[in-house]
């Protein structure tokens, strides 16, 4: 699944590893993928998708794959799940027409679309988090409610976040991050990218310290969103 430049997240992870001489291999798990390949991964990424694409992926996810993914999440495998993927990992998605689509049930959250005439939540977003201010662009019709608000990835300073009401944005459960941030998320939030890389390496090799990179351009790009408040 990839819309809204989500593949920029993959590029960010790849380059930030390469710049530190960390070897990376990217496996694309397309529809009909082999669960063995999923089991081998140290870091997971799933992007947003249009409704029809999401349906296709949803039908493809077998019970084996769901169990496996759940196990990976529970055993601290880091992962980034954006927008449609974030919703997909929850309990269910209630469509604008009231129809309920079950999610993978891996994260304790659910999403509801308030109806055809409800405004989409669109615009630049800033959220405060332990990883600093997160910046991005959100564009979603569904409103997500996380069961435990303490698990929110960040607190909304500008924009809508999960549902436009409770000021929460995203979720951080173990090392899995679910979020509505496009932009894409990782190039403009290098601390979030490095968090995922660090956790992936730690799970595989034990405690490590990542080499610091020059993020001055990243900082300038963040400012374009931050100063817009």
């Amino acid at each position: 699944m990839n819309t809204y430049g989500d593949r920029g997240n993959i590029l960010a992870l790849q380059k930030r590893c390469e710049w530190r001489n960390i070897g990376v291999e990217i496996k694309r798990l397309n529809v009909g993928f082999n669960p063995k390949h999923l089991a081998l991964c140290n870091l997971l990424f799933m992007g947003g998708a249009q409704d029809t694409q999401q349906m296709i992926v949803s039908r493809d996810f077998s019970t084996t794959n769901i169990t496996l993914l759940k196990q990976l999440v529970e055993t601290n495998t880091p992962g980034l799940y954006i927008c449609g993927a974030y919703q997909f990992l929850g309990q269910y998605y209630k469509e604008a027409n009231g129809n309920k689509i079950p999610g993978l049930g891996i994260l304790d959250l659910h999403t509801e679309h308030p109806g055809e005439n409800a405004e989409r939540l669109i615009g630049n977003i800033i959220a405060d988090s332990p990883l600093g201010k997160l910046v991005g662009f959100e564009n979603h019709g569904g409103r997500t409610y996380i069961s435990d608000k303490k698990l929110a990835l960040g607190k909304v300073l500008k924009g809508f976040g999960n549902n436009g009401k409770d000021k929460t944005e995203g979720i951080k459960y173990k090392n899995s991050i679910g979020t509505y941030l496009h932009g894409p998320a990782l190039p403009k939030n290098p601390k979030l990218a490095d968090f995922l890389i660090q956790k992936a390496l730690e799970k595989k090799y034990g405690k490590i310290k990542l080499k610091t990179l020059d993020d001055s351009l990243e900082q300038k790009a963040r400012e374009a969103v931050l100063k817009d408040r």
């Binding site: 809204y4 590029l11 029809t52 662009f137 990179l213 020059d214 351009l217 300038k220």
Partner: protein
């Protein structure tokens, strides 16, 4: 005669806004529609001899519409079009007002309108078109349109309600548009590129329709021309390209193979809809000059500038390909804005393949409201294994300084290629020519 007040009103508003120095491209139509919501419906009914051609699609509307209008005019027809950017219902209404007399009579043979993707359904409901061209459908301004699939669904619904004799010219290399047009029940013809002539490029990240619109199975592509355009087949339900027309003897007066689609769309309409011969089309095409900002050559401070509107992933990728086909080691200026006409969300630049350009370009300067987003994109496009060691791009947020700085370093026999989003293109053009168009 119910029409009289709205026409007079429109004409008055047009005069007033012109006198007050406002560009009058949508105001008169807006006023007329306020007075009579059915204004467009009425005035098109009143002029049954006027052949209205609607052109919709993500990329190529302006170029295709200019080709069609010029060729029709060379055949002695009286033709008018809507003004640049006035492509909603009120823009169409304005154009109809300014070309009619006070009684609502339009003494023209054809009207060629380019229509915004989102507005096609409402325009179809109001103006009774003689023909519709669907050029392509790519992800674009998702903050405004939501999803590409939503647009496709709206188009499909809108086409179903048209009179069956409406001529539909659609892209037969686009899986979704092929599906929509063959299901529409209209008199439809498809343009495309022959597979033996077309480049066999690899799949890019700007694609939207890879799954069968009929049964959701993953499509098999025998050949990709660009983005999701190509020769496809569904392994499950056998859905495949319809019969395709391509006019390979016609010249391509523009840069880039992607313009062949615009040429074929125009030629198919002109032959099927207006009975114009290929010889005449060929002759007119030889003299064709691009619309402003679309592959436009501009002399500035004694240097050559080539300005290309590049507004979404598919269009940006095609611009880059065209630049690299013209020059091996080009000097390039990239201008990224995030105003309403550009789309507020700049995420899409990550769906553009900058890797080859970053490697080959002699120099790259970045500018615009979101300069640093573009700079960041280039940083992550560089093949360098070490971080920003020898980045060859310059960063200049101020557009005028960016242009002048780049120009001053440019050898006099070289061209500067400027790739800019919509509002950035208008701004660039104003700096280069000293006057604004809109």
């Amino acid at each position: 005669m119910t029409q009289l007040p709205s026409i007079l009103m429109g004409k008055t508003v047009s005069l007033v806004s012109r006198l007050s120095g406002r560009s009058g491209s949508t105001w008169p139509g807006h006023a007329a529609l306020n007075l009579d919501p059915n204004f467009v419906k009425r005035i098109s009914k009143k002029n049954p001899r006027l052949k209205i051609v609607l052109i919709a699609g993500t990329n190529g509307k302006t170029t295709t519409s200019k080709m069609i209008s010029e060729i029709l005019e060379k055949q002695g027809l009286k033709v008018f079009s809507n003004q640049e950017g006035a492509n909603l219902l009120n823009g169409v209404a304005s154009s109809l007002i300014s070309h009619s007399n006070v009684l609502g009579k339009i003494k023209y043979d054809a009207a060629v309108f380019e229509i915004d993707e989102n507005s096609l359904p409402i325009v179809l409901e109001n103006a009774k078109p003689f023909a519709i061209i669907l050029l392509n459908l790519f992800r674009d301004q998702l903050d405004r349109y939501g999803e590409v699939n939503i647009i496709a669904e709206k188009w499909q619904k809108a086409l179903k309600d048209l009179p069956k004799e409406t001529l539909l010219i659609s892209n037969g290399d686009d899986p979704m548009l092929s599906y929509i047009s063959t299901k529409s029940g209209l008199d439809s013809f498809h343009f495309g590129l022959p597979k033996d002539k077309a480049p066999n490029s690899k799949q890019t990240s700007d694609v939207d329709f890879l799954y069968c619109p009929n049964c959701s199975e993953k499509l098999e592509f025998e050949n990709i021309i660009y983005s999701h355009l190509g020769k496809f087949k569904c392994p499950k339900c056998n859905f495949t390209n319809p019969l395709i027309y391509s006019f390979d003897t016609l010249p391509n007066p523009l840069l880039g193979e992607y313009n062949r689609y615009n040429i074929n769309a125009a030629a198919l309409l002109l032959t099927e809809g207006f009975g114009i011969g290929l010889d005449a089309i060929e002759k007119s095409l030889r003299d064709f000059t691009p619309a402003f900002g679309r592959q436009e050559n501009i002399r500035y401070k004694n240097k050559n500038i080539f300005l290309m509107l590049s507004k979404n992933p598919a269009s940006f990728n095609q611009s880059i390909e065209a630049v690299l086909s013209k020059e091996k080691f080009p000097s390039v200026l990239l201008v990224l804005n995030d105003r309403i006409p550009d789309g507020r969300d700049v995420s899409w630049i990550w769906d553009v393949n900058f890797e080859e350009l970053a490697e080959k370009a002699k120099s790259i300067t970045v500018s615009g409201d979101r300069t640093y987003d573009m700079a960041l994109r280039l940083k992550y496009a560089s093949s360098s294994k070490s971080q920003i060691s020898n980045l060859k791009f310059q960063i200049k947020q101020n557009l005028e300084q960016a242009i002048n700085g780049t120009i001053s370093r440019l050898p006099s026999n070289k061209t500067l290629y400027i790739l800019a989003t919509y509002s950035a293109m208008l701004e660039t053009r104003k700096i280069l020519t000293g006057k604004s168009i809109l």
